[in-house]
């Protein structure tokens, strides 16, 4: 913790860490995030059991797998990832800027508003009010509230960043840009293809939106956090500042240009499709520099990832990040697209990104932060280990399984086999996915039980101290 404070030369001589960081709101965000994680897992299971024809809740309108599939993806993006990032931002931004957020009352207002947004989204989807854009399904009447919420988030965190004098650390480049991008991306996806453009052009905007939501909201916040936490945990600076620059500016330039690669071979003009493919391959090179930079940082301290659990979460996520980006460089080519588009290959890719990378980073941050927020160490190291191994292992199995299954589906379709054949060939892969999903869920339950017990211990310690 003290390492963070030495980063900026503008640090006031004495600083009360508890005044700087609003701890209760971080706990609140993390608990909200974990609740939505459970909601998302439930949605995933409904669809997964439906696919293997063993859905016990068949025929109930409010539990329709079609609707819950949308709740699954929205709950993980807006419920888990957004909430967890907001919590972690409340820890990192004040420490990096030596200034509290713009207004603590505003923080709680945002917290409340964001839960309203996520719950209304889930409720709206459950009652069949979706809009036809992935991650933009958010019912019409919630969009303006969410947009306002994102503006307030930006104000609350950009204020301390702007007041900070002296050089900006890498993390703050990512955060500052992310606040701008998230606001713009949400506006682009939730208003433009619904109200302003139609058909193929709406497809182009939709592609930009689903891509930018990962690339310009989740990714910069994620990497910003890595640039913050990893040097603290390793107690050494990032290996190469130049590479950090390449990573940030490469992402900033190439990432927004890729969205159309989600709709290759559609009637969207071919030259735009080629442009998206080329920018995607370009960003994989940028990703490689970032990965090299972080492994350069780890160099010489490799054994740290054995004992230091948060660090292990972070580096596992980075390995998954490299894998999924490498996969992306292949699958984005038109040759691959012909085979794997529309298949579970893409679903495997999406899980690897959203859970394997960003959720795992956030779970690592929670593993690091909860003991500091509650003031006691984890109740059980063993449960923490189970959490890690079930999550990381389950994810590897799920992604590998779906990616492989996708190839078989693609071949079955291209061979003009009857549709039922592509279903039959998918069954073993879909069954394996359920098992991997159960493992991941087991990991999260272990984590939540561990958290509950840790909280009990912390309460006990507090009451003892009070006496």
């Amino acid at each position: 913790m003290s390492a963070a404070i030495s980063i900026s030369p503008t640090a006031p001589a004495t600083i009360d860490e508890h005044q700087l960081v609003d701890r209760p709101i971080i706990v609140a965000y993390f608990l909200a995030a974990l609740t939505y994680m459970l909601v998302s897992l439930a949605g995933g299971f409904l669809m997964a059991f439906q696919l293997i024809q063993h859905n016990p809740l068949q025929g109930i309108e409010l539990l329709s797998p079609g609707r819950w599939r949308m709740i699954h993806t929205n709950a993980i993006a807006y419920g888990f990832i957004a909430n967890a990032f907001l919590g972690a931002l409340h820890w990192a931004v004040p420490r990096l800027t030596f200034r509290p957020v713009f207004d603590r009352r505003l923080s709680w207002l945002i917290f409340g508003a964001w839960q309203v947004v996520v719950l209304s989204t889930a409720g709206g989807l459950m009652f069949g009010q979706a809009q036809a854009l992935e991650w933009g399904e958010t019912p019409v009447w919630i969009d303006p509230v969410a947009q306002l919420g994102l503006l307030l988030v930006a104000i609350n965190f950009v204020a301390p960043i702007m007041r900070n004098t002296g050089p900006m650390y890498v993390t703050l480049w990512y955060f500052l840009a992310a606040f701008v991008w998230t606001f713009l991306t949400y506006a682009m996806g939730n208003f433009v293809p619904e109200y302003f453009v139609t058909g193929t052009s709406a497809g182009a905007v939709g592609g930009l939106f689903i891509h930018d939501l990962v690339g310009l909201f989740v990714t910069p916040l994620g990497w910003g956090m890595m640039y913050y936490f990893v040097p603290i945990l390793l107690r050494k600076p990032i290996w190469s500042h130049g590479m950090s620059l390449v990573g940030f500016w490469g992402l900033a330039f190439f990432y927004p240009l890729q969205g159309i690669h989600h709709f290759l071979y559609t009637p969207i003009p071919m030259f735009l499709q080629y442009g998206a493919v080329i920018s995607t391959i370009a960003v994989e090179l940028v990703v490689a520099t970032v990965i090299i930079n972080f492994f350069g940082t780890l160099w010489g301290n490799g054994s740290a990832i054995v004992g230091n659990l948060p660090l292990r979460w972070f580096y596992t996520g980075m390995i998954y990040y490299f894998l999924t980006c490498f996969q992306c460089a292949l699958q984005v080519t038109l040759t691959f697209q012909a085979l794997i588009h529309f298949t579970d290959w893409v679903v495997g890719h999406a899980h690897l990104v959203m859970f394997g990378v960003f959720s795992m980073w956030l779970l690592g941050m929670m593993t690091y932060l909860f003991p500091r927020l509650l003031g006691v160490d984890w109740y059980s190291r063993k449960l923490s280990e189970w959490h890690y191994w079930l999550s990381a292992g389950g994810m590897l199995v799920m992604a590998g399984d779906l990616i492989l299954g996708g190839l078989f589906q693609g071949w079955s379709w291209a061979a003009l086999q009857p549709w039922e054949d592509s279903i039959a060939v998918s069954q073993p892969f879909w069954a394996t996915r359920v098992i991997a999903g159960l493992a991941i869920t087991g990991g999260q339950l272990a984590f939540m039980f561990n958290l509950y017990k840790t909280w009990q211990v912390s309460r006990h310690v507090r009451t003892k101290a009070a006496h």
Binding site: Q50, Q53, G59, E61, S64, P65, G66, R69, M70, G128, A130, A132, L133, G136, I161, M168, W173, L176, A177, F179, V180, W181, T185, M188, V192, P193, E194, V197, T198, T200, S201, A202, G203, G206, L208, L245, F248, W249, A252, F253, P256, L257, G259, H262, Y265, T266, P267, P269, L272, G275, Q337, L339, H341, T343, V346, G410, W413, A415, E420, I423
Partner: protein, 238 residues
């Protein structure tokens, strides 16, 4: 610029984003701006009218409950068009709200033998209408592509299939949608009738409609309907 607040905010945050938006979103919009965007009412065509009237024949009681009775004489034609547009729009909302588009795409690619499985490769003008806000290209096919689905199967088939897919296709992983019915597969409710109308519309604008099945016009039982059709010349499949 590279490490300053203004550089990050204005160049990376705003300028790069704007550049991407202009080049990737505004360019296709400008390229297609001359293609007229059709309203839902304009989307009703002879093929779809045929299917809609067929629904009126096959499910007379549910149909009457939802849409009432068509007026006599010339007015019937207009009436059917209006009700059909209504059903099409609601059907689209059901299709979106139930998440159908997460497992069924709506575009035929020029690769992977897709034109042989589904029909003609998709073109831009097909998507220039109100029901493609946002566009329903889709990203996953658990089930087959649907943009050439209209007319391939009968309304009865769809009615049974939405009620319980495994009755027709035993290994289908598609969920059941009993809430689109009043208790039985031959009693589709308003949303059920609308969804069937929507699915029968997909591809109805093409000459190749219907693509797969031999498609014969059903003898209309209702004398008024018959009169209305013979006068207007609609409702006949090509």
């Amino acid at each position: 610029m590279f490490e300053t607040k203004s550089g990050v905010f204005f160049v990376a945050g705003l300028a790069f984003f704007a550049f991407a938006f202009l080049s990737n979103a505004l360019v296709p919009h400008l390229m297609y701006r001359d293609l007229p965007e059709q309203t839902v009412a304009e989307l009703v065509n002879g093929n779809l009218r045929y299917q809609f009237e067929d629904l009126a024949q096959r499910y007379p009681e549910p149909f009457q409950q939802v849409y009432g009775t068509p007026p006599a004489g010339d007015a019937a034609d207009e009436w059917f068009d209006a009700k059909c547009a209504e059903a099409l729009e609601l059907g689209h909302d059901v299709y979106v709200g139930e998440g159908c588009w997460h497992c069924h795409s709506q575009f035929v690619r020029p690769v992977s033998n897709e034109d042989r499985r589904y029909g003609p490769v998709s073109e831009s003008w097909e998507y220039q209408n109100e029901l493609q806000r946002p566009v329903l290209f889709g990203t996953r096919r658990v089930g087959p592509d649907l943009c050439r689905e209209g007319g391939r199967r009968s309304n009865d088939w769809h009615a049974v299939h939405f009620f319980k897919p495994t009755d027709l296709s035993p290994t289908s992983p598609m969920p059941q949608y009993p809430w689109l019915y009043d208790g039985a597969s031959d009693k589709p409710n308003e949303r059920g009738l609308a969804l069937i109308t929507y699915v029968q519309w997909l591809g109805s604008w093409l000459e190749s409609y219907p693509y797969y099945e031999e498609y014969e016009r059903l003898p209309l039982k209702d004398a008024e309907l018959q009169a209305a059709n013979s006068e207007s010349g609609t409702g006949v499949a090509p």
